[in-house]
Amino acid sequence: MSGDDEFDDFLARRKPLFQRPSAHELEPPAEVDRLVLRQAREAIRPSRELHEIRGAGWGMPLALAATVLVTVTIVLNVMVPRKVDHASDVHQVAQRIDAAQPNATMAPSVAPAARAPNNAARPAAAPALASAPAFAASEAAAGRGTPPPTESPRVAAKAAPAPAWRRDTQSWLAEIDKLRAQGKIIEADAEMAEYKRQHRAYAASPDR
């Protein structure tokens, strides 16, 4: 057999040209095996964990955002009192009343305490004190013959003559109910706001 044929046999792995050690002579140490397998295992562990988190990745922020939104909404609705612009409502009602009664005489301002003697919890003369300076200024201006000083709408509203129904608590509440029955919700609300402003105990009572 020529050398070429021998080499071809060798290449085709049909015949060994010489004796060589057993193929199982050398094996990697067990410690090396352990290290390699551990490295391989640790390499895929983070990706698997990331994959698991990625599956619910959109759900968790959404749940948190929804929770925060609901919580804030509840807190705002429960804890923060709603602001009602009583003054503007009262002013509007006062203007309408003035328009309806152009020739009405300026009735002296009656203290709520005097108008509603039955209301024991009402603050004594606070509304009267509030409207007294405006009225005094108006009187003084008339006496001097000069036009009264320009008043703010709020002061003007307070200086406006009080309607007759406001003199009595029952009449006032009846008037409010009447306005509501007529569909004048804004006027009714304004009257109620003014009523509550003058009757703090009524506004603060637990059933209101």
Partner: protein, 220 residues
């Protein structure tokens, strides 16, 4: 591990010291879909540890023998062995079976060894394995058959000594042929030479080994 970029159809490193021929990157091959090992590697890339265990058990011994006989030092071989598998692990997610997995694995091993040689630059080709190194490579003696163990040890020693006389390029081609069970074309691709060059190196290597072993058996 140095900063190296890998591709399935060849590996390259940033080193410029061309002691050994490098694989070419330009050639592209179609994906190998019938290689079971490649499928296992893809499965491991998807996170299946069992696939890696199967892959590892199939190739660990051959790869280790290749590295031990290339490095001629058990400690170095252990380090290179771990480095090769580390590269396999790192590459898993971008692995594409453009060649048989065995080709890919031995390409990594080949380049790891070349990188090692470049790092140390102190091991001349053809250095004969010293007895102390050879003893480190041997498995534990078989106490039940001391005569067989001695004969096996003697054969191993002669084989390694003959192997160590080969020039690096010839030993590289020979070990790839013996341990990786790859074809000449695949070996040529791994070593970055033409198929005829690889065949010529292998022919020289086999001839020298045969002569060296014959001389050792019959010194007269």
């Amino acid at each position: 591990m140095n900063a190296a970029t890998f591709a399935m159809d060849g590996l390259t490193t940033s080193d410029t010291d061309v002691r050994f021929a490098r694989p070419k990157l330009a050639r592209r091959v179609e994906l190998v879909t019938d290689d079971e090992d490649a499928q296992l590697m893809l499965a491991y890339g998807r996170g299946e540890m069992r696939a890696f265990e199967t892959l590892y058990s199939r190739h660990r011994a051959a790869l280790y023998r290749y590295l031990v006989r290339q490095a001629r030092d058990a400690e170095i071989a252990n380090d290179l062995f771990q480095e090769v598998w580390s590269r396999v692990i790192v590459i898993r997610s971008r692995y594409e079976p453009r060649a048989k997995f065995r080709t890919f694995l031995f390409t990594l091993a080949h380049n790891c060894f070349i990188d090692h040689c470049r790092r140390v630059k102190s091991r001349p080709a053809g250095l004969v394995l010293e007895d102390a190194d050879a003893a480190d490579l041997l498995p534990a003696d078989d106490a039940s058959r001391p005569d067989a163990s001695m004969e096996r040890d003697e054969n191993s020693r002669r084989y390694r000594a003959a192997l160590a006389t080969l020039p690096q390029e010839q030993r590289d081609v020979y070990l790839l042929h013996e341990e990786s069970d790859l074809s000449l074309e695949e070996i040529a691709r791994i070593t970055g030479v033409g198929a005829e060059t690889a065949k010529s190196r292998l022919r020289y290597a086999v001839g020298k080994l045969k002569a060296a072993l014959a001389a050792m058996e019959d010194p007269a």
